[in-house]
Each structure stands twice: as C-alpha cells, then as structure tokens.
Symmetry: C2
Subunit: 366 residues, 2 copies
C-alpha cells in the first residue's frame, strides 16, 4: 500500500521514530526541520510499501552518520543530503528508483524524507533495523549479504567520497575515520539493493509504525490519558523504571556519543544505569539487568511521553524507561554477534525486553 | 624524446630517485622489486618526454601514500597498484592515456613504472615535485590549480575509495585518515591532467635525471672515484657535513615517519641535527642552518654514496650530507607557504641549499 507523506505528519513521524531510535538516530526536532523544508520546496513524498516495490528497483539507503551530539549542531543542507545519492547513481551508472531509511530515528527517518522529496523519488515504508544502531554495518541487510558499498559520503563543505570495500565492517571503519575528519557528521548513501532483496532484508512498515507511535503520544496528551502507556502498548513492551536523571557522563569520542546515565527512583538504593554508544545498549540496576541490545531501551519524559535522545539527557529530567522487543531477526546467533552486548565490550549475555537472558548457547553462535 | 625503460635500468633509477627523494619517497630496494617484477611480466615501458605528450592526453599520477617506515614492510601487489587507476578511469568515464610520478623517490619513482607496465601505458619522464614531500597536496600542479581529486586509493585487502574534494588540502586530510585506518600505507592515483597542463605543471626530465644520478654513483664506484662528489656535481649542490649517526628519534604518528637524527663530526661540538617528516626538512648545527625545505637535504653513505632514507638511518652509519637546489618554482611565495619550514611548524625562514636565508619578505608572501 502506498500513501502520501505531507509536512503536517512530520512532527508525529519524527517523534515516533525517536521512540524507536532507542536514544539514537538523532533529535526529532532537528530532523523535522529539514524534512518540512524539503516538503515545502518540493511537494509531498509517496511512501511505498515493500509489497509494491518492483523487483528490479534500485533502492539506496540515506542516512546521517556521526555523533548525535554533533548532528544537533550541524543540520545539513538539502544539497548535502542529495550529494551522496547523486554520486552513487553516477558510480553505479543507472538511475536510483527508491530511497529507504537505514535506521529509524528522529533524524534518520526524516532525512530520507527530505532526500526523497528533493530527488523526486518514492520512499520505502521500511528501514534496515527497525530501530537505530551506532555502526554502519549493523543493519539486517548485512545478514542477507547486501554490501554497504558502493557507499558515498558528503559533508557541508562539498567534499564527497565513494567507497568500495571488501566487507561492511571495512565500510564502517573507513567511513567513520573520514566522518570524524570531516567534522564528526556526514551524509551517507549506500547499501544498493534490488526491490526483491529490499523486500526480504528490510523491516517493513517502520515509517507507518513510527507515525502511529508519534500520533498516539499526541492523541493521549489531547485525551489527557497517559502517553507513555499508549506507547508501551503499541510497542508490546514494558515500562520498568520511573525516576530522575541524576548523572550523565557523555563524551564524543571516535565519532560516537558514548556515555552513561544514572536515574534514581525514590526508594531504590541502586538506581538505574543506562550505558550508551549513540543508542542505549544496557539497562541495569545493581544485579538486575532489565534489558540489553538488540532489544529496545527507550527513555520517555514522565509527563509528556516525549522521547529523550542520549544527547538530550539532562540532570533533573523526570523520566520513565521502557523496554520493547526488536525485530526477531536480531536474536539470531549471527545478529547477536554483530549487535549483542559482547560486540560493544560488555561481558554480559543479551537480555530480552522482559528481562530474561538470551540463552548463552545461542549467543555463543551454537 | 621517448625511450624504453627495461629491468636492467631499474636499480640505477631507484638509487638516483632515492637521492632526489631527500630521505623520503620510499626505499629504493623495495621499489626496485615491484618494478622489476612488473617489467618481467608485462615487458618494457615507454618513457615519454613532456614535449611529446599530446595536448588531449589524460595523465594520472600514481604513488604510494603513507609512512615509509610501514611501506618497507608492505610491498603492494600489482593488483593493488593498478586498482586506483582503474577506479579513476571508470569514475572519469574515459581512458587514461599516460601515467606520471607524483614525486621522485625510491618507491614513488618505481611504482609508476610498475603501474605503466601492468596497464600497458606510457610513463611520463616527469614528476610533480622534482623531489619528495610528505603531504599529497605538495606538488607543483597544486600551484597551477590542478585538483588532486578525483583521487582514488586502494589497499592490499581490496578496499578502494574515490574522493572528490573542495581543495587539495581536503584530499590530503581525508585520504590520510583513510590511509592510517587501512594500515598506514595505500596506493593512490589522482591529479587528472591534460597533456598541455602536464607540460606546464610537472617537473620535466626527472626520470632521466634520476637514472643519470643513479648510474653516476655506480660508475664512480667502478672507476674508484668518489661517488658522493659525482652526485654533488650532477645536482649542482654542495656537501656540507661528514660524520657518524649517533642518535635517531623516530615515531610513526598520524600516518608519517617523524623524527630527528643527530650526526657527529670529529671536532664539531654542536653536531648536525636533521629534522624530518618522511623527508628531511631542516639541517642545523648550533646556530647554523645549512639548508631547509624546499631545497634538498640528502644523506649519503660516506663510502658507497648510496642514499639513506629517513627510515633507514641507523646508529653508527658514516654519512655525508648534501644540499641541492629544488625546482625554482618551489621558491615562490605561494609555494613557500605550502612547503616552507613555517608550514611544518618551524619558526625559521627557508634557507637555500647554499645556506643563505630566503628573504623573509618573500616567505611572508609579499
């Protein structure tokens, strides 16, 4: 099913996408600005369901790569957004037919809207993760042997590069150092896919899902019901913590926003500790692990239900913390090797959103 | 005038090029190996004088980029050498007609021979500097507004990238971080030029000159005359120091071999200090500055006259140190801003090979 995305839906889309962004994927306000500008200049975007993409389509993902702490200060221009798509179209020697989101997040679900509008191309109702992850190779298409490269990157100065690498991890490594040198935030386009591969490898319906979550929060506020409860229900998740942000350690290093946040609930002596690298990775309190990557850990404003990104965490915020299931394909052994706690350096088995540990056997790849 | 380069000339070419490499540009033995292999597999290379290049030629430079300390341990394969030329030909959409050296040096004058042989293309009797310099933008073509980009780079794993940047300094910055990430040594090809531009912007005759220097050293040894004196005469330079290497400080940082060497002459209490970043930049003893970049500072084995590269300096070597004039275009104000001592962080005016300071007025750009 295809539908038309107009400027008045961007606020809800960005808000819902920031919920699924699990702390990363960029600030929804920043993301909205650019998408609204592009829609105003170029008209609405047609969003196409995966069931309607022609088999021989040429789909490219579009995303902003870098530390969200920097992204919030460096809104790209429309020229910068489309530059890598143009570079890649030239490199591939055939016309790009569809744009897709690499991940879901406040910026990374709205930048592709801007790109699709400016390029006059349809946007897929889909993305590569069903959430956000910090590194470029961390998309389901990697598990379907889709190569990230050729991948193009561009900055606000007008520099452009195209990479053709031996695997998706090398695309990440080279693009990341280029990104850091170019100012810690660049636009990228890559993962060229046919329509039939996109149908198999992407997470379908994620823009509609984001829009529903975002408008659900707005509706609950209007109806004076609990917006957090509405979100939890829509995600099939659980709320596991309610407290005040009392400490945030954050550094922008090696191209990422890395850090930890401490949230205290009245009466809990241990407090909740969230560890993040752009996205929340681990939620623990004392000996209890509430959830870990790849399931979603989401921090919401206690009253308004507004998602709070990792770079937006501030002392004194009253928040409610939610865990929700990720796409089931993230729980396969290969996927856990790519995005489980072990990859990020934590000696901890992956814990599902309901707090149960992933069987160690599975995480070991057996 | 065009001539044929065969495997038996490679030793002299590499040796002479290492003399002009002024400590950098790579080890001549390593450089010889790859060129000999390519000539054995693909036959001799035609070397074409700048006067014979057609105006509409498409000339690309080919070079190894990275720290010479790493290059000596990572001899590239022929596949790696030609990969960036192929990538760039595809990107530019028209056939490359000639290969040229970006700089003169033990590896960077012989790698282009290997590339020309493997690609079946003629090689220009020319290069971009008439010596070696550590950064990519430091070529005379930069002063003629030739853009380094599109520039392609490749590594031994099979990773390839193409950059299109806003200026040559940005090509250097992005290529350098990619180079460091890819193992501190990559093959590059760039600076696309027409034949008419190449004629104007390159240093003509530098391969013939290298060959003459290299064979002059060999002849002097056979004739039991002084090979260092033969080299000094051919360079129009001067020998200014004779001593023993007593200290070498060297680190491979940010993609370069940086350091200092101390050479002691009997009776000189101050000793000679050479400062280098891949290439020798400054030669000083106490208050006396013997020569600085952009003129050439060359360390030769005291007996054999064999050039010693900065990564080859060892305690106890008995050496003679020579200064020689660079291409006169390196002494223009814009050129001195790009490659003078000030660019490398030394608070010192440029000193010509005869020890006279460049007028400060000139270096200040007036």
């Amino acid at each position: 099913m295809s539908w038309t995305l107009t400027a008045d839906a961007i606020g809800d889309l960005a808000r819902g996408a920031a919920v699924l962004g699990t702390g990363g994927g960029g600030d929804p306000y920043i993301g909205s600005l650019l998408a609204r500008q592009a829609l105003a200049e170029h008209g609405p975007v047609t969003v196409v369901g995966l069931d309607e993409v022609p088999d021989d389509a040429l789909v490219l993902t579009v995303a902003m790569m870098g530390a969200p702490t920097v992204m919030v200060e460096k809104l790209p221009s429309l020229d910068e957004v489309v530059a890598p798509v143009h570079a890649l179209g030239t490199y591939l020697g055939r016309p790009v037919t569809h744009v897709a989101c690499a991940e879901i997040g406040g910026v990374n679900s709205t930048i592709p809207v801007a790109a699709a509008a400016a390029l006059g191309l349809p946007l897929l109702d889909a993305d590569g993760m069903g959430r956000a992850f910090p590194e470029l190779q961390m998309v389901l298409p990697t598990l379907y042997d889709v190569t990230a490269s050729p991948l193009a990157f561009s900055d606000e100065k007008g520099n452009v590069g195209v990479l053709q690498t031996v695997d998706n991890h090398w695309t990440e490594r080279i693009a990341r150092v280029a990104c850091v040198e170019m100012g810690c935030s660049v636009m990228i386009s890559g993962f060229p896919m046919s329509g039939s591969i996109a149908r198999e490898a992407l997470v379908g319906g994620s823009l509609s899902h984001s829009l529903a979550i975002g408008s659900g929060i707005a509706e609950a506020r209007r109806a004076k019901t609990d917006p957090v409860a509405a979100t939890v229900e829509r995600l099939g998740g659980r709320e596991f913590y309610f407290g005040k942000v009392v400490d945030v350690e954050r550094a922008t290093t090696t191209g990422f926003a890395r850090g930890r946040a401490r949230i205290e609930a009245p009466g809990d002596t241990d407090a909740l500790e969230l560890s993040f690298q752009n996205e929340h990775l681990i939620a623990q309190s004392g000996d209890v692990t509430f959830a870990t990557t790849p399931d979603l850990i989401i921090v919401l404003d206690a009253e308004s239900g507004e998602p709070i990104t990792t770079e937006g965490l501030r002392y004194g915020q009253r928040v409610r913390v939610v865990a929700a299931p990720s796409d089931p394909r993230w729980h396969t052994p290969e996927a856990l090797a790519m995005v489980g706690p072990g990859y990020f350096g934590y000696d901890l088995p992956s814990h599902r959103f309901d707090g149960t540990p992933e069987r160690r056997l599975v995480e070991a790849g057996a």
